[in-house]
Subunit: 69 residues, 6 copies
């Protein structure tokens, strides 16, 4: 499946925490940058996400803000 | 201002395109990774965003999906 | 690519309108239901979206609200 | 109340799961299509959402991505 | 229609600007606070939004970040 | 840090509830208006959010819908 989301950041899962319904997954995209994602527990199970596995952090362009110092 | 958004990816603006109301800004966050953001033209002006300037791509964790090959 | 987004609604593109930077794509998911998507012009080009083509409307669960009459 | 969100998919609630703060609600919009929504527990209570009740899945167009096989 | 979105801020439209596909609508919610919304041109037409009219700015709780100075 | 998000509503935290992974924070922005935010527990800790403290509710324009009665 190819998706319209402009941002697909390749990395490795370094942490996964399931809550009651919502999980947090952290992906190391290299260069010292960690991306945190909040998804359903169900998605974690369906994709078989595990620490150490390869994964992409995917973000729609309209969900990206810009900031300056 | 410190913000709750979990993802603040530091980089340099490499492209900015204004549309009628909506602009696209591309930020090189290093390691060959480009992040595309869709924000208002007004925000581009207010922050004084210009190609070559330093900027962060900021994303709330609940807007990050995870994908696997 | 398998994505964590819980909602992948299969259908056929019935309309596509490009603006200056942002496009609107409408997908008929059957049963008389049309889903409207707002994505970048760039994504329309990259995915080669055209009227009559098959496509999925993809939505993260945290972007779905519930309403009652 | 009439809302600007372009997508209002009518259906019936088939499942509701409350977590500590966040609930998952699944709506059958017909034709074999189930939409999953992640909302606050508080909203579930306020709207009186129950399995078997009629409901709409509501999504803003800018939160809809497009994918192709 | 009652919606699950936790935030419905009542005000008056003070400005509306249509782009090629995307419109910006500004709502004065009182107390000197202006909220800016980016929606489709189509929604502006369907709701008949005009400067001076009453309107609500509606935001899902998961789209609200928190910041501190 | 200056951010592109168009909406930064100043107020005071009146309630905070942590779930397993996701917290709800309510901010009184004055004039009787309460804004509810759903963020990670981690963000609550990092920003040191506490009831009675000053805070902003921050929302990207593309996440604001408009509704009329």
């Amino acid at each position: 499946m190819k998706i319209s989301a402009r941002n697909r950041l390749k990395g490795k899962i370094i942490e996964g925490t399931k809550g009651a319904t919502t999980a947090h997954v952290r992906i190391d995209i290299g260069n010292g940058v960690i991306v945190t994602s909040s998804i359903t527990n169900e998605a974690v199970d369906e994709l078989g996400l595990t620490v150490g596995g390869n994964a992409y952090a995917v973000v729609k362009a309209s969900d990206v803000m810009v900031a300056v110092d």
